[in-house]
């Protein structure tokens, strides 16, 4: 550990609720990216319709922009994959099985882990710091 560097912490970030309702997803990605860049270990837990952020059926890109036909825009699934790749093991993206199944969002991308709902509390309490965003 470099002199003066902050000690490694385990951060638990949870997002509950639907994308496209607020900028919670944006905030989540910003915080996870910054924490990983600061060499902390991050667990992201998605609940409710946040489990749809990592649907495999989203593909790599959003639907084409009719007003800018040749431009490509990454899907949330692609952005999470990019974050996982760059994190090199410092980030785990967890999907609540109950919420996922309740919403039929079962086709998840490779690289995320589907976990039983009771692990939410276990992981939250085991972390050095936790933040739960959104409303059920």
């Amino acid at each position: 550990m470099a002199l003066g560097a902050a000690p490694e912490r385990v951060l638990f970030l949870a997002m509950i609720g639907a994308p496209y309702e607020s900028d919670t997803t944006t905030t989540l990605l910003r915080m996870a990216d910054a924490a990983v860049a600061a060499r902390h270990r991050v667990s992201v837990w998605t609940c409710g319709f946040a489990t749809t952020l990592t649907l495999a059926t989203l593909g790599d890109s959003k639907p084409r922009n009719l007003l800018s036909w040749d431009e490509r825009f990454p899907s949330t699934a692609a952005l999470v994959t990019a974050l996982l790749d760059a994190a090199a093991g410092r980030l785990e993206w967890l999907v609540c099985r109950y919420c996922m199944e309740e919403r039929g969002a079962t086709a998840q991308i490779d690289g995320v882990a589907v976990r039983p709902p009771y692990e939410f509390v276990d992981r939250l309490l085991a972390a050095d710091a936790s933040l739960v965003m959104g409303l059920k």
Partner: protein
Amino acid sequence: MSAPRGTRALAVVERAYRGAVEQQYAHVLWLALSLHHRMGGMGVLLRGPAVLYARRGQAAPALDVGRARLGSLPRYEAAVRDLLAAGAPVYVDAASRRAAGLDEAALLDGVEDVERERVAAVFAAYDRIWYL
């Protein structure tokens, strides 16, 4: 059945900032512009926090996600300019603007500030009122 060309529809936008990463280009003002291209006659009334979409000088940040730089976050100021350039009026509810602490002078050129008592008259100029 699609709306016939020439239908005048006012899009009332009251909620704002509904997912920068999720929406990127596909935000409500893009939808309004797309509808305007399709059928002509769109107008947009911004209320509540959505009045901030019409502010001049908005930041246009990119977002770093891992090694990727996402430069396609919503650009509401450009979107309002595009609507105006396409002939779609953009109105701002003056009471919401004041509640947001925004001076009328801070609005983009061409955006019309509308006092509450005039909103009914704006509505009356349209065939359809759509809350988007």
